[in-house]
């Protein structure tokens, strides 16, 4: 009873160990710091995968533990990306504009620089003024605060409205889908102030690091993503380990009973919804500088459904399952859709994986749900021999767990 947190959760230590070994390994194999075995673009893919794992961790907390199937968490992920993207784009454009104006005879005024930035960023959507939502874009600390605040407040307001009305189950899932779709449609408009369907681009160029090559930056972002994933894992593992974890799992299994124990179910759901939205937003803020571009298509409902599929395939209700699922499926997905998977020629028809991958993914999702509800994570149970014995026959003794007839004969 008095054991420490880590000794009660050995999987946390294992996870952190494997994550550090992975990061170290990638660093050694990178172009920037090692033997140049892995290309910079592949390191970016790995770094992005770590961010997706962090988002999957948030999804596992809200779905696997609290039982709320949110199909809108990638909206928070993308919002986090937009918030950091605004600073990246503003600061970089500012640098370009100042350089351009420095050739003029008269030194440029602040207003001229401001106008230059606005024209550069918004020329593409036919506007020349900075929209009010860009009011904080000049400042990294303010914009970093918005990474947390904007998705957090959105989740808080949306969750408050939904949970207060006791919307549960599939209706809540539909509502979250509607939220992400509505947000995507809004951002597609040119006058939304975020460059419509062009989105924000050039995010891989970090202001102030002009002389640094992408080889180095990619490894730095991989480190940052691994660090965030490690911290996120520790946080979520801590949240689900104590009485709080007990209560949210109880809400998943029988929320009416939890109410009669005196817990305000709505308050807990809102807390978990907002916390996971913030985790997803932080993951997004690390993802998009590695991806280089963000546009409203990232908020499409399908993105959030993928997130749920990853967690289901990895094994919901266990944190490493979510991470494994996200890493495995998203890497496999980029392998198949990247045209690197060899096509299979059946003579009468050629299976082209770019087209057939989604069908394969769909089938494996259905297969996992039906035949292996514990997902890939369930393999660890097999490995540890935790499978409950296959018992047959009637009980021999009065106590539960006594030998069964057939076992006794054997």
């Amino acid at each position: 009873m008095t054991r420490t947190y880590l000794s009660r959760n050995p999987s946390v230590l294992w996870f952190l160990l494997i994550l550090s070994l992975f990061t170290l390994g990638v660093t050694v194999l990178s172009e920037a710091y090692g033997v140049a075995f892995l290309s910079t673009s592949f390191i970016k893919t790995l770094g992005k995968t770590l961010c997706l794992c962090l988002a999957a961790l948030a999804m596992d907390l809200i779905w696997g533990y609290a039982g709320i199937l949110s199909l809108g968490h990638m909206a928070f992920f993308a919002l986090g990306g937009y918030m950091i993207g605004m600073w990246l784009m503003y600061a970089r454009t500012e640098g370009i504009v100042i350089t351009a104006l420095s050739n003029e005879a008269l030194p440029a005024t602040a207003q001229e620089i401001q106008n230059g930035i606005a024209a550069q960023i918004f020329g593409v959507v036919g506007a020349s003024e900075l929209p009010p939502v860009w009011g904080f874009a000049h400042s990294l600390p303010l914009q970093l605060m918005l990474v947390v605040l904007v998705p957090g407040v959105l989740a808080l307001v949306f969750g408050w409205l939904a949970f207060r009305s006791r919307v549960t189950g599939v209706y809540l899932s539909i509502l979250t889908q509607a939220m992400t779709l509505a947000l995507a449609l809004y951002l597609f408009q040119n006058d939304s102030g975020l460059r419509g369907n062009n989105g924000l681009s050039g995010l891989q160029n970090i202001p102030g690091l002009d002389g640094v090559s992408q080889d180095l930056i990619s490894v730095w972002f991989l480190w940052a993503s691994a660090f965030a994933l490690g911290l996120g894992y520790l946080l979520v593992a801590w949240v689900v380990s104590g009485k709080f974890g007990s209560v949210i799992r109880a809400i998943r299994d029988d929320e009416a009973r939890v109410r009669f124990l005196g817990y305000s179910v709505e308050g807990y759901k809102l807390f978990v919804f907002t916390l996971t939205a913030i985790i997803a937003a932080i993951a997004g803020a690390l993802y998009y500088p590695q991806a280089g571009i963000i546009n409203p298509a990232e908020l499409a409902p399908i993105a959030s459904i993928y997130l749920a599929v990853w967690v289901a395939i990895g094994g919901r209700g266990r944190l490493y399952g979510a991470v494994i699922g996200a890493a495995f499926v998203s890497l496999l997905s980029s392998w198949f859709t990247g045209g690197r998977a060899p096509s299979i020629n059946l003579g009468f028809y050629t299976i082209n994986w770019v087209d057939w991958w989604l069908i394969l993914l769909g089938l494996s999702f259905v297969g996992v749900t039906l035949f292996a509800p514990k997902g890939i994570g369930g393999l660890f149970d097999l490995w540890q021999g935790l499978r409950s014995p296959d018992r047959k026959g009637a009980t021999l003794g009065p106590d539960d767990g006594s030998l069964m007839e057939k076992e006794a004969k054997e």
């Binding site: 104590g242 109880a250 005196g262 817990y263 305000s264 539960d400």
Partner: protein, 249 residues
Amino acid sequence: MTQLLEVSGVSVTFDGFRAINNLSFSIGPAELRAIIGPNGAGKTTFMDIVTGKTRPDEGRVLWGAKLQSLLSMSEAQIARAGVGRKFQRPTVFEDQTVADNLMMALKAARGPLAVLFWSPKSADHARVAELAEEVGLGDSLSRKSGELSHGQKQWLEIGMLLAQEPQLLLVDEPAAGMTLAEREHTTRLLVDLAKTRAVVVVEHDMEFVRRLNCKVTVLHEGAVLAEGTLDHVTRNPQVIDVYLGRSER
């Protein structure tokens, strides 16, 4: 004596069906009361109203010395105010251990943040072990409650109720599905509990009610038909008519 719970003039209608019709009921702070009545008399709806699950169309439900109205409070707030409820079917969290179930029910702060930063002290562990011992699950603390037998789950739920330390306990058919020995144990426990708090038992089984040896309220068609000792109400011709004449006797 001031009453702990006072229900007066309460009515509730479901799709035109009057489940509770101008019902009045009160119970003191340390009293055992049995509620009997035929199926559809409104026993469960009455419990739903007191625990906040169902809102009545009219009437008042007042609680405690301060005469707080329970009607404006949520289920969770009512539970925190001191009303505990035991369901007919045992509902424990099967995926979690006996100790976790009891720990969750243990009287403590219930807010999300308070719970997040809460960690069990040795006194809490001791209290959980003591409660488990009391309901005969002392050596099953680390077992998943889903592995328990039906009777053990009933006991675990009673243990969870005790952990909540309620002032009023609403118990729905506690004897259902229990063996004779378990029933006797349950009777003793309920009588014991009623010494320090109010206990309302909803029951079908007259033999069990007789053993509780307490004041009985007979419900019929959502209203109180008779009240008094079991012998007194069973002599009431109306009661014989609607209830006893039809079934048990």
